[in-house]
Symmetry: none
Subunit: 221 residues, 4 copies
DNA sequence: AATGAATGAGTTTTCATTCAT
DNA sequence: TATGAATGAAAACTCATTCAT
């Protein structure tokens, strides 16, 4: 759990007011997230973060310590934002197969709507995971989603639709794989293959990926 | 000794010795590939490239021009090496389903054996593809593989095993997705999920991914 | 002590002390002027400019941008300083011929007292004028002097001493020519001719040049 | 006197043939002259000199030693070329005043036709004359011209046209001043004054300068 | 006589970080 | 809480010069 930041609710979301520690911190974080995700760790500029946040560099150092710490905070923030998004997913009312389909499509859309998530993961993996390795509660981060998925798998198996022995984490990694790659690698794919990777293509791909996952789960009749 | 033009053939091609332009260029390229793929574009150091190549910085600038150009050359080299590896894949003798399985497993292994490929793609995509977009023959690069895949799909359909209308490029992107993600994201996955992503896990995952692809292709009986 | 805004007025303007942006800028400019005028553009070292200014290189880049911009600022400063000097010239009380003589002698002395002016002009002309060409108000710079000269010429003509139709700009270029060359080319002249080009020689030459100009202007009787 | 270079007359002036020491030396010198006069000493590139000469850098070092020596040779070459040009001037047949006028106009044209002369002098003076100071026969260089001028002055005086006591060197420096400055400073003059300094302007200025010199010499009636 | 290959020692420029208020 | 001024250390890039043939 992140330490409870008593953000003055009134201030939140607006352009950060001066003399407002919590707001400034938030603002720096958001700016850092954009900077690191568009330029990578080494390519990111503290100057740029300060400028975008509308605050001074010394303040950033006061709050975070050094570039590494800013990056670590931004990475954590990325995960928190993604997890917050995932909380909105509700698969309860749906039949198991439909629930899986909706999870796949949701994941694809989620990645598309929050492109800095993928960029931050790329960056962190390029760096060998040296930062996330030291993040305390990293392993709690997606547990809710995994639980939801486990429930659906159980339900599907109980209904006789899904095979047994499917591990939700393993399955989730499949789903993430299918959704992550075409977004993460959109630029190289566009250059290497003729196919147009645009919004429509990604929409279709979400459906097709859902198909693939469902076929994989189905009990063979 | 005067005009002895017999360049010692044994020396050529391998560890490049001094006063050998082609060898030096090769050596720089290899060094650049390592540097860029382990540190990303902005994190890479020309100094380091020179040191690893056992040559001086000015020579690098003489041969390539500037950091951008070194990077571009290394990116292209990456693709060339990967394509060369793909030429070794032979699916001709196998039944369609086996051929597909072998392609998936091969792809997974190929990515594992050439980790700089994935790192370079990550780097390039983080940079928005600005370099590969200007690479002349980028789109020829994987055409052989796609042709092989098309043949297998046709064969599978002819034999009544595979569904019709599967586009080989689209399918290849599925296969790449499944193989790319767990390798590319190994560090973040390790931190977020408890599962051990080690060699054995990746071996199993290759098989499982092959399963998924094959089920996706199969005509439903 | 808390909000004491009384910047010690005594400190301001002269040898710039730390934490004084305007003073630092000034100091860099002065240092750049010395460096560029003694070494030329390509020979000048930003390092040296910093050292002489007692400030760090990054600050120079912060204030000016790059070497070209430092040079441009120094060139403009050169002209401003020269113009400021020219404002002190007063020819009003003198008879026309005396006024001209005093202008010639003043010009010679002015060039001698501000040797970096000639060096900067030489440097800029060697560079093909690429910097001054883009200087906004370059053509306003010597207009005051030209006006003064025009008045004297008119006066001299009205008094029946000077010929008509003398253009002040053209005449000024004659005067500048006579004063510029022996100072600008002092080193080559010393080597090529035996004559000693020293202070006394330049004093005499100022008088002689004044003579030449006056004879040129005189109405032939 | 320069050491008699036995240039194979047949080779001279053409594109330098390989395996031809004298031709190569000549070719490097010409190239150096262009490079140093257009870029100044520090801005000149040995690489560029080699490229323009169509020869390799090591050859240049073999022939000249180092950059300083190339520069020194180019500077001396400049003077030699200028002196060679001055030999063509013939004032013998003309009345004294006409002879002076023709010398002024000739000087102006000579400077215009050989722009690298002025650039080299500028460069050398910017460097404080450190090279020409060590040139052995520098003071012989313009002696012929001075002698010619002395003759004309004597003749003019004998004819009762010119004043007595005019030193030819001093006069020559006046003439050079008038011709040098508007060519040397063409770029800054163009920017600072509105007047168009073009070929026509320089033609007129030659005449006007001749006027000024003649008026200066004339015995006042 | 001539050169392609190579480099040590700079030079400009950048950037994370701190000082002083 | 907040910042304008400043910098040490390092990065990319250059250039006169030499090596080996």
């Amino acid at each position: 759990m992140a330490k409870a930041k008593t953000t003055h609710e009134a201030d939140r979301g607006k352009t950060p007011r001066k003399r407002n520690a919590a707001g400034s911190r938030e603002s720096i974080l958001q700016s850092a997230l954009i900077e690191f995700s568009t330029k990578g760790y080494a390519g990111a500029r503290v100057d740029e973060i300060a400028k975008r946040a509308g605050l001074s560099k010394p303040l950033i150092y006061e709050y975070f310590g050094d570039k590494d710490a800013i990056y670590a905070a931004a990475l954590r923030e990325t995960y928190l934002q993604i997890r917050a998004g995932e909380q909105t997913l509700n698969m309860d009312g749906l039949p198991a197969e439909e629930a899986i389909r909706s999870l796949v499509v949701f994941t694809m859309d989620h990645f598309r709507r929050n492109p800095w998530f993928i960029s931050m993961l790329n960056t962190e993996n390029l760096r060998g995971g040296s930062t996330i390795r030291h993040m305390q509660d990293a392993n709690e981060i997606q547990s809710t989603l995994i639980e939801k998925l486990r429930n659906v798998l159980d339900r599907g198996h109980a209904e006789g639709r899904f095979r047994a022995g499917i591990d939700p984490v393993e399955l989730y990694i499949f789903i993430a794989s299918l959704c992550y790659f075409p977004i993460s690698n959109v630029h190289t794919l566009r250059s290497v293959f003729e196919c147009k990777i645009d919004d429509a293509w990604l929409d279709r791909r979400g459906q097709e990926a859902a198909d693939m996952v469902v076929r994989y789960l189905r009990k063979e009749s």
